[in-house]
Symmetry: C2
Subunit: 324 residues, 2 copies
């Protein structure tokens, strides 16, 4: 059985784990991201934590198939460079692949965090190896990823799409994505909290807690429910996926709200045969990214990346730079 | 050089051609669809026309790699069955693959018309073999297709997505797709004509002709331009394609309107690296479907379908039926 080191880097914390090919977590830990302490500090702390995991799981780094990293994006999976001043201030232009592969002399892959979470759910969770899987995650932001025939879908230039910024209406608040009325601006935690506050609720949780008994709580959720429904309609009419998985903190807390909004809109679609389209809440919680990143690294090592875009880590950051 | 028979079936006419692997059209013809005369009549007329094309191009049916059919959808490419009561009344449940492959004893493939048009543009037109190509066609309806790494993209159950019914606003007219405010309901020829009529113009063409000199003509086009922009934003944030191609009758007549609406919205996207994303009007006009369908048939014969979904025509209609 192959093993890999999985790392899931968010704006607040970093999760690391030694993961087996079958998804078993041999050892794991978390540490604060503290990106303002600088990239070098974070790499040192990650490496220190990883070595402790190798000890506690009785694994030698040389036995590992590689390192898989999921990181809050934008990141460039081809070069390894982080480009996210919003949630990782101070890391701009830093190269995660170079830093980690140099430290452990292991092949290292970097993907967007939503991509590896979807890959984790694809192999070990609610994705159930669906031929075409689309996952949306709802929390502080809205993320998304597609796994098509077992591969993380990438777009032009090797970049990952931003399904959290699908347009759902032509008005609505202006988002930092450049447009009004994207799904993140209407159905993220802060978006729901904003409407909740206008209606006199203390938080998004208070709105969800009051729902059903309270007309203004229902009203506060209409915008989010419509956004989820419209994003689902968009995904249905573009990817026509076999499986749509909803994950993230908000979905972990209120799975029925998200799944039912999606199912109701899918039931209205008249032009598509949707009998093969199913919707489910994520099953791996906040381990999806960690486990998915590790499995991605293992699969790239075992199978080789099935397309021409990813090159061995030792050469790709230089080889690909001129093209980008 | 391989050759195939390409057939492009629309609600009004059927185009047939003998096409070489390199896209050269050796002979072609069109005939009225007249679907109300019945499926059997249409098959007989298509077969008669095809035989005449074989004669005029000095081609024996036995020399052909196969038959590729693009048909106004919904169609089921796995079973061969047509399911389009709107534009092909009287053909419901009829099997094009069985009818044509039996007549000529040639392997036959059926795809949605937008799919084969996109495939034609991919190989011989504005698609320029982009790794990820998305095409939208604007005419009586709005169609769409994605060609990813050279394959026509299919969704759950082997069905094709319906990009023409991407949601672009939460209000707008109710479409037969089941939703208000999809792109077809706002930017198709009839949708533009409806707004034009409300503003006192005789037709969509009159609006386009007056544009620039006339405030109410500009006003009549705002809805369509916004719909094109929002659909483009949606495609950009889901597929992140290398190339977006606009085709169809409206685009042939007014390419700049569509291409500029898309380019302006792409320029506003802040989360994606769009330097590799280009937009172009289609180049093959109404030959795209014919040529694309033929090339699709040739590619399936030469390469074998690279996925497991398509089976040899003699067996697939029965073999796949229980699954659908």
């Amino acid at each position: 059985m192959k093993h890999a080191l999985g790392i899931d880097i968010g704006g607040t914390k970093i999760a690391l784990g030694v993961v087996a090919e079958n998804g078993t977590l041999l050892a794991s830990t978390t540490l604060p991201t503290d990106s303002r302490l600088g990239f070098k500090s974070a790499v040192q702390r990650m490496c220190h934590a990883a070595r402790k995991l190798f000890q506690s799981s009785d694994t030698a780094a040389t036995q590992l198939a590689g390192i898989g990293v999921g990181c809050t994006g934008p990141v460039n999976p081809l070069t390894g460079v982080v480009d996210n001043p919003h949630t990782l201030p101070g890391w701009d232009g830093c190269n995660l692949i170079e830093a980690l592969s140099a430290e452990f002399n292991l092949p290292t892959w970097l993907e967007n965090d939503a991509d590896v979470a979807a890959y984790g759910e694809y192999h070990f969770g609610a994705g159930e190896k669906a031929d075409r899987l689309v996952m949306l995650t709802f929390g502080t932001g809205v993320g998304g990823a597609a796994v098509l025939k077992g591969e993380i879908y990438r777009g032009a230039g090797g970049g990952h799409p931003e399904l959290g910024h699908l347009p759902v209406t032509n008005d609505g608040p202006l988002c930092y994505c450049g447009r009004k009325g994207c799904v993140e601006s209407l159905a993220s935690g802060p978006a729901i909290a904003r409407v909740a506050s206008e209606l006199g609720f203390a938080s998004a949780d208070a709105v969800f807690a009051a729902k059903g008994d309270n007309a203004s709580a229902s009203k506060a959720l209409i915008q989010a429910r419509d956004a989820v429904a419209t994003a689902t309609w968009s995904i249905l009419h573009s990817f026509l996926p076999d499986r749509i998985v909803f994950g993230g903190g908000l979905v972990d807390a209120y799975p029925i709200f998200f799944v039912e909004a999606a199912r109701a809109t899918i039931a209205r679609a008249r032009l598509l045969d949707t009998t093969a389209v199913t919707v489910a809440p994520a099953r791996l919680g906040n381990l999806a990214g960690l486990v998915g990143a590790a499995r991605w690294a293992i699969d790239q090592q075992v199978l080789g990346y099935p397309r021409s875009e990813v090159h061995p880590p030792a050469t790709r950051s230089q080889a690909m730079l001129p093209k980008l």
